[in-house]
């Protein structure tokens, strides 16, 4: 009866051929749960990191471009301020624009190193005084500047910022003209200066964008005004074919998306580019950095997350394997014990001090075995008693 019980399918699970199965199931389930959780959280992390870092990058680069634009604008403003001061000389108030004005022009060239030539024109556009760092001018030659657009705009009381032009096909220059007035609105002449834009190089090359990034300025027509690699400027490179430059000069209504584009630079490298405009000069300032460098931190964090993921997975594997073995080991001992009991070794007692349900189970088994042993012993005794009873009663009823 006991043997039949022990051979029943419920107990067969503990027997050798099927022993590995539980470990495997347990192992698979825990790995699936733990790894699944880890991978899901890791991927989520990477996803958010990506978006976050893209946003931070966009913000940072936009700011850099804006700062660069402000610095370049300030450079031009400084020139303009020096010129404005020159239009307010005392001699002008007294004598109007005359030969004496050369003194102011000298001071202007001294104060603004970027100006290489300056000329003072009277209200009809005739040169009254002129000075240059390179050339000498005769005081008696009165050239006529009245046709120049710089003069025409400045005479109306408005400051003139001319297009970029290249001297000797190499150095970038621009013309700035300001009205000279006795008082606001009473224009008596024009002060015109040629500004060497090579000096903007100093402004631009001081701007750092990350490690390999840089800032540069270009005019609407695509002329490069300032670039840390001054060779590009002196070669008169035109950047109008670059996507980011075209995008920057689009009207605001046609501009799509954010102010951060991935584009190719002059060297054909992929860069992240953002820009800021200087509306007064119709220039745009770009801040660019190589894509690889910009996403370096992102890649770093992806690597970190995935290595953490791998370590987690390894630990999960190890842990579930360990736990599975911890459960299955005692179970096997239990199974072997039960098998031996099944074979009739009722004197066997299991010694499992696992401190958990398996220990309780082992104790119950021990109790059961004890009970079985007792029952067996009782049964045998009863049989012996019965046999004796029958034997002793037999002589009394010999015929039955």
């Amino acid at each position: 009866m006991v043997k039949r019980l022990l051979n029943s399918p419920a107990f067969r699970i503990f027997r050798r051929p099927r022993r590995g199965r539980l470990v495997r199931h347990y192992f698979y389930i825990s790995v699936l749960l733990i790894a699944g959780g880890l991978i899901a959280s890791g991927l989520l992390e990477i996803y958010f990191r990506y978006h976050e870092s893209r946003e931070t990058l966009a913000l940072l680069q936009k700011e850099t471009a804006a700062v660069a634009a402000i610095k370049i604008e300030r450079f031009i403003q400084d020139v303009e301020t020096a010129m404005k001061a020159a239009t307010k000389g005392r001699d002008i108030a007294r004598e109007g624009i005359s030969q004496q004005y050369k003194f102011e022009l000298k001071r202007l060239l001294f104060l603004a190193p970027a100006i290489t030539e300056a000329v003072a024109l009277d209200f009809s556009g005739v040169k009254q005084a002129q000075i240059s760092r390179f050339r000498a001018f005769s005081p008696d030659v009165k050239s006529d500047f009245s046709k120049s657009p710089a003069f025409q705009q400045a005479r109306q009381g408005k400051a003139y910022f001319g297009p970029v032009y290249f001297v000797r096909a190499s150095e970038p220059y621009m013309t700035i003209a300001l009205p000279i007035d006795h008082f606001k609105g009473n224009v008596i002449g024009v002060l015109q200066a040629e500004v060497n834009l090579k000096y903007v190089w100093e402004v631009v090359s001081g701007i750092k964008v990350g490690k390999a990034g840089y800032a540069y300025a270009a005019a609407r027509t695509g002329e490069l005004i300032a670039h840390p690699d001054i060779s590009l400027v002196l070669q008169g490179r035109n950047v109008s074919q670059l996507d980011q430059v075209q995008a920057a000069f689009l009207p605001a209504s046609e501009r799509s998306g954010g102010n951060l584009t991935v584009a190719r630079n002059l060297q054909g490298r992929n860069v992240i580019s953002s820009f800021a405009l200087i509306p007064r000069l119709d220039w745009a300032v770009f801040a660019e950095r190589p894509v690889e460098e910009a996403y370096e931190r992102l890649y770093g964090s992806v690597l970190r997350t995935s290595s953490l993921l791998l370590i987690g997975l390894g630990m999960a594997l190890f842990a579930s394997f360990y736990v599975a073995r911890r459960v299955v080991g005692p179970l096997r001992v239990l199974g072997q014990g039960v098998e031996r009991i099944g074979k009739g070794d009722l004197g066997l007692r299991l010694d499992l001090k696992t401190g958990d349900e398996i220990e309780v189970l082992a104790e119950e088994f021990n109790k059961m075995t004890a009970a079985l042993q007792e029952a067996y012993a009782g049964l045998e005794q009863k049989v012996a008693e019965r046999t004796q009873e029958i034997n002793s009663s037999a002589p009394r009823k010999p015929n039955s």
Binding site: K102, F110, P113, A136, K198, I230, S231, R325, D351
Partner: protein
């Protein structure tokens, strides 16, 4: 049963221990890797710069060459460590320059730094592969040294000098300083045909300013005395010494002669004013040399000279020696003084 479990535990412990060992090995490998790769690098060839100066060897410690060396250091080139500089000084003898150039070509220098137009022309004839950085060649496009300022096109790049072009400007400054000025002597090294165009321009300016020019060509140091003799004495006379090799190498002599004869002179370089000359107006010598170090740096880093635009100096300094002015009994007008970058008193 116990024995079996003990055995299992021991096995587990062993496994753990071997895991630790693997980790240690891995860490060691990570730490060792950079050292290994550093050792694996092949020692690079130390680049060589050939420098030919026209002046004396002592100018090695002069302002200009110090500026050149300083800039190179700033750019990461330490002489004797990761760069070798072959210094050659002609000591005022121009004929030695082609020899030096041939010598530097034999030494297979990576880049040559040459002062002035003539040495560059000599070098252009001798090599069209070794990059050449010129420091003060006037009108390199006109004389056919380079194709254009923006794209030199060949093996030559560097700085142009605007020194000769500034002679008109110098005349103007001198006239503004000494308003009585009527007669200006132009002291130059005769036989320099490249100066013809500039002289025409200077002549034009002189006419506009109402000044008469007297051209005094010299061929050797012995001619200086005669040349100065030819300058008429008087308060209306001035002198411009044109930037040429012969004149540069006799700086002190010229300054002294001008001082002796009380001739207000304007020079192209502040070294004249520093040694007692009256005035100087021109690009700063040290900044030109510092700039040429930039070219050397770019070329050593692999940029082709053909792609390096030739630059012109943008800053010019006016230096006035008040001591000399005082000795000659001249007062400098305030508007000229104001515009001076430096006044030696």
């Amino acid at each position: 049963m116990r024995a079996k479990r003990d055995q299992e535990m021991r096995k587990a412990r062993q496994e753990k221990a071997s895991g630790k060992r693997i980790m240690t090995l891995l860490m060691a490998a990570i730490l060792w890797l950079p050292f290994h790769s550093a050792q694996a690098q092949v020692p690079k060839k130390v680049p060589r710069i050939g420098f030919v100066g026209q002046s004396k060897h002592s100018s090695l410690t002069g302002q200009a060459i110090l500026a050149f060396r300083q800039k190179l250091r700033e750019l990461g080139w330490v002489e004797g460590e990761n760069v070798i500089i072959e210094w050659r000084f002609a000591e005022g003898i121009e004929e030695r320059v082609p020899e030096f150039i041939a010598d530097l070509i034999r030494l297979k220098v990576d880049v040559m730094v040459l002062t002035g137009g003539r040495p560059v022309r000599a070098a252009k004839k001798a090599t069209n592969t070794i990059p050449i950085v010129m420091t003060e060649a006037s009108d390199p496009v006109g004389s056919g040294l380079i194709a254009s300022l923006a794209r030199p096109g060949g093996n030559i790049t560097g700085m142009t000098s605007v020194r000769h072009e500034l002679d008109g400007k110098r005349l103007e400054i001198l006239k503004e300083t000494v308003s009585k000025l009527f007669h200006v002597a132009i002291l130059w090294q005769s036989g320099r045909s490249s100066l013809k165009v500039e002289f025409e321009r200077t002549e034009l300016t002189a006419r506009e300013l109402g000044v008469k020019l007297q051209f005094l060509g010299v061929q050797s140091a012995a001619d200086f005395g005669n040349a100065f003799q030819a300058i008429p004495r008087g308060q209306t006379t001035g002198l411009i010494a044109v930037h040429t090799q012969l004149i540069n190498s006799h700086r002190e002599q010229i300054v002294e002669m001008a001082a002796k004869r009380h001739i207000p002179a304007i020079y192209h370089d502040r070294r004249y004013t520093d040694s007692g000359g009256f005035m100087s107006y021109g690009p700063s010598h040290p900044s030109i040399y510092a700039q040429s170090a930039n070219y050397v740096d770019k070329i050593l880093k692999g940029v082709k000279p053909a792609d390096l635009p030739v630059e012109q100096p943008t800053r010019f300094e006016l230096v006035i020696n008040l001591k000399t002015a005082h000795k000659m009994g001249l007062t400098i007008p305030p508007d000229v003084l104001m515009w001076a970058d430096e006044v030696i008193r």
